[in-house]
Structures are given as structure tokens and as C-alpha cells.
Chain length 309, copies 2
């Protein structure tokens, strides 16, 4: 029986323009790495958090990794505890699923230390509880994508992998600015009309149909956020120009990654995605904002154990 395991969870793009709180996909590249040790004391504690420019809570119940493992311990009535070390690879407040990644990496590592490991779907409720301490609500779009990899529909109690065309790529641009999830969510308060929901549902259905049928035209027709993006766009300096630059580069669609400020675009093929990433970086640069860029298949990796002893 192993007593220590390290897992890596990739970054992810939440919402994916048309599936607010329910649709996400993982990204090949950046991610969080979490080491978990089985300890005799019946508690969850965080030994260290490395990386990340911002102080994350070290108190276990206020940290997403800690809260996830507390939820796991409680539900499984484990007689032992966990000690956690977190290496942040995902920038804080970037809209790239950083809070979710720490929770998922911690769960995947801890799962490797259980006498009877659980399935990824069985880890989902614990990941939701972990994520909730950062965002203030239960939404599984990021943790679901990290647990299964690729594009995932994450409902309140279920994860469904959505197949995607193999040539579907994503360009992700992270401007060097912080937008706290809580602030981004506050912009969504207030009233909505039913007629706002109809075109957004239609777009969700078009994107799903396009993914299931390998039809880029349907994806292009649907990949537009008409519900949430209009309320959040003003929180991201340069957003309109960055989105426009992606569409001018023939991206299938572009929108805010998760709660922002990162911006993503879906593209037909890797070459187009690399070109679109450059265009988006250029548009941010015109607004004097530095940024990092990544290009990844939409069918990104799942979280995985990288070391076990």
C-alpha cells in the first residue's frame, strides 16, 4: 500500500461559451501538482503551497484541495488523514480552473492511497465540494473536465464525456490580470428574460450536435455566448478586440474562459489555433497587456497520478 502519491490536474476552460456552469474541457499544458500523504491523525492538513502569485488559504477547510479531501474522508469514514502539498501551476484568478485543479489533483492522489480506489465519477461529488469553497457555488464544469479529460458535460450529479472532432483545437490566452471568480459571478446577478435563454440554449444544442456529428459548421453556428459574456465582457480590458481578432482569424468561436480574464477560441486544426493564439496575443498587446498563450486539442488530458511511493 502506497503512503504518498502525487497527481497532476490540467488547466481547463469552463463554460465553453454555451454551457454556463455545466460544460468544460481540459487543456494540455499548464496544471497543478498535488502530493498527498496518508497520515495517522484523523485530519486533513496542508503542509505547503508553492507557486502562485497570491496567498491561497492554507487552512484545509478553506482551501479547495483541503475541502475536497475533507469531503472524501467524511463520506468514506476513513480512519486515517491526509497531508497535502500543493504546487500551483495555474495562475490565480485566471479563469483556467486553478481552484478546481488543486481539488482534483488532491483527490486523484488521495484516491491512489485508498484501500479500494474510487472511479473518477465517484470522486466528482468531493471535487464539487472542494471547488465550492473558492467559487461559492456547486458547479462542475472545471472539475468534471479534469476528472475525465476532454469535453465534459457536468450536471449536479453526473459527468458525461462529449466526443469531439479530433481536429478541434483550442487557443487559450491568459492576460496578466486577475479576475476573482466571486467578482465575475457578481456581474451575473439580477434578472434575466426567458427570451435571452432561448438563443443560448439553441447555441448549446448546436455545439453539442456539432461535436457528436463531427460538424464544424454546426459548432461555428453555435459557439457564441449571448447570455453571460455580454455581462462580463467589460470586466476584461481589451476583450472585444481580442475576440474580434480570433474571429478574424477564422476561429469557430471565442469567448471568456471560465470566469475570465483568460479568453479562448475553438479552431479547426492546430495550425489555425496557433495563428489565432498569436492574433489574440497581439490584440492584448495593443491594449498594453502582456499575456501567455497555449494551444491544445479540445480533447485534452485527464488528471493522473504521476508518482506513487
Amino acid at each position: 500500500m502506497s503512503t504518498q502519491a502525487t497527481a497532476f490536474a490540467p488547466a481547463s476552460i469552463g463554460n465553453v461559451a454555451v454551457g454556463f456552469d455545466i460544460l468544460g474541457h481540459s487543456i494540455k499544458g499548464p496544471g497543478d501538482r498535488v502530493t498527498v500523504r496518508r497520515i495517522g491523525e484523523p485530519q486533513v492538513r496542508i503542509a505547503e503551497i508553492r507557486g502562485g502569485m497570491c496567498l491561497l488559504p492554507i487552512e484545509a477547510k478553506r482551501n479547495t484541495a483541503g475541502a475536497a479531501l475533507i469531503a472524501m474522508r467524511t463520506a468514506l469514514m476513513l480512519p486515517f488523514g491526509f497531508e497535502i502539498e500543493i504546487d500551483k501551476g495555474i495562475p490565480f484568478g485566471s479563469g483556467m480552473g486553478g481552484s478546481a485543479a488543486s481539488a482534483v489533483a488532491a483527490l486523484v492522489a488521495a484516491n491512489a492511497l485508498l484501500d479500494v480506489p474510487l472511479s473518477r465519477e465517484e470522486l466528482y461529488p468531493f471535487a464539487l465540494e472542494g471547488e465550492a469553497v473558492a467559487s461559492g457555488g456547486l458547479h462542475g464544469d472545471n472539475v468534471g473536465a479534469m476528472l475525465l479529460g476532454g469535453l465534459v458535460l457536468a450536471t449536479k450529479d453526473r459527468l458525461v464525456s462529449i466526443p469531439v472532432p479530433p481536429d478541434l483545437y483550442c487557443a487559450l490566452v491568459h492576460p496578466h490580470a486577475v479576475l476573482e471568480t466571486r467578482d465575475a459571478r457578481a456581474a451575473l446577478a439580477g434578472h434575466y428574460e426567458l427570451r435571452e435563454f432561448v438563443p443560448q440554449s439553441a447555441n448549446l444544442a448546436l455545439v453539442l450536435a456539432g461535436c457528436f456529428q463531427n460538424d464544424f459548421n454546426l459548432i461555428r453556428a453555435g459557439l457564441e455566448d449571448v447570455l453571460v459574456e455580454p455581462r462580463r465582457a467589460s470586466l476584461i480590458d481589451g476583450f472585444a478586440a481580442v475576440k474580434e481578432s480570433a474571429l478574424a482569424g477564422r476561429a469557430l468561436g471565442a469567448s471568456i474562459s471560465g470566469a475570465g480574464p483568460s479568453v479562448f477560441a475553438w479552431c479547426s486544426g492546430k495550425e489555425q489555433a496557433e495563428n489565432v493564439a498569436l492574433r489574440m496575443r497581439g490584440a492584448f498587446a495593443k491594449a498594453r497587456i502582456e499575456c501567455d498563450t497555449w494551444v491544445s486539442p479540445v480533447a485534452g488530458p485527464a488528471a493522473e497520478v504521476v508518482a506513487c511511493m
Copy 2:
């Protein structure tokens, strides 16, 4: 060149619980029959409306069939006109797509009289305009299903056929009561919260994934209207008991057909659908409401020309 054609358009179920205004499927059984004659005068006129318990507008521009053909004539700049006879087979104000069926049957018949007939997708904008004179808004869930047959995603400018499991059946129960679409839509006015949209979107995605993947469990998990049905249920006497009776019969889900008062249930197989239809009829009977019932594959027929001379 034919100068007269008759077409039949089937009834349909609009909204399908999770796709308000965008998802519909046709039903094998009842429908409207419309005969269209090419006439020399550059106008659209309605010669007669037979059947239906209620007086429908005979003025062409206020009738859905007339308005649809006016839209067609105008867009195609046709040098001739049309005379229309309508045989209503779908009860007025039933939530079974009666206003849509007259428009679609008229278009399919008129299309057979064109020198260069259009595709079903090309008829869609005219059908939308026809339907709008009855409902007061552009929504293609019923006309889309009738034009293509089966389960159809109908956006503002696009129709997408959604494949369904061959064993997927529908039980449809029409209580002998009238609920005007305009009144049913008035119940939906007012404000909504974003958090109401999230579970409804999740349900739409689950149903679509279930249809694409032939997975009845996903369909069952998703086929529930948490957004519109709660606001309309009180307009339909006996609704709660009828829905409950369907679910007790192991239906995958049940909700209001279109704007109501008809109620539908999706079922796994024809036998279950027949049983569920009886249960729903029984529940309406307990509330002293008579009704008609139909059982149909969800992959119902498309509108078609039945006579041409």
C-alpha cells in the same frame, strides 16, 4: 406542371420539456391537410376551412397557412397566387402544433406547384412567419419537426435533425380543453434567475447526449422541465396527477406538449408508451376530463404531398 396539390402535416410536440421554442418532434397520427391551387391573380386567399371546433381566421394574412404562403410569394417574387383549402385534423388550442401544421402543409403543397421546388430547409423561414401570426413570436420547434420529421433542433435560421433511439416512443394525451398559445405564453412573462437556466441547460444537454448515444438512462436523467413547466402547470387541470401517473408507469419523463394543455411522455418501447397513455388518460378521467390519446415513435413522419394534379 401541376396546378393543385394536397399535403398532410403531422401534429407535433413542441418544447419537448427541455428545449423551449427550439426542440420539437412530429407525431404519427393526427394532422392537418391543406390543398393549394395555383391561381392567376397575384394574391393568396383562403377558400375554405373545414374541421376544428373554433373559427380560425379566413383572412389570409391572419391565418398561419395564408401568412406562410404570402411570405413565400413575396420572397420568391412569384408571378402567380395561391388559393387554399384547409382541413383541420389537429384540435384548436391543444398544444399539438395545429397552427404550425396548417402553415407547413400549405407550404409543402405550394412547393409542389413551383417551377423549381425548394428544399425543406428553404421552406423554414416561411413556416416561421406563418406560425408567428398565431403565436405572436418566431419559434420553429413545431414547424421544424413537421418539415423534417422526427426530433428536430430549430434555431432562428437553421434546422438540425437529432437522431433518436428506434425504441423511443411517445404517449400523447389531449384533454378536451382549450389553452390558447398566447395565454400560455403570458404565464412566462416576468423575471428569471440565471440559476434557473443552469439545470434546464443541463437537462437539454443530457437529453441530446442520450439521443445521440442511444442511452435511455441519460434521457431519463434529463427529460424534466424545471423552467417553463412550473409556470404553466397550474393552467392545466389535473396536470400534476397526469404527470405522476406517467412517471409511475416508468416513462422516461413527462411534461406539457407545446403550450398545452396536451401532456406527453417519452417511453422506452411501444408497449410501455401504450400503458403510460392509458395511465395518463385515467388520471385525467379522475379529474372528470375526457381526452384522446396517441402513441407514436418519437421519430415521427415529415409532412408530405398526398395528392397532386
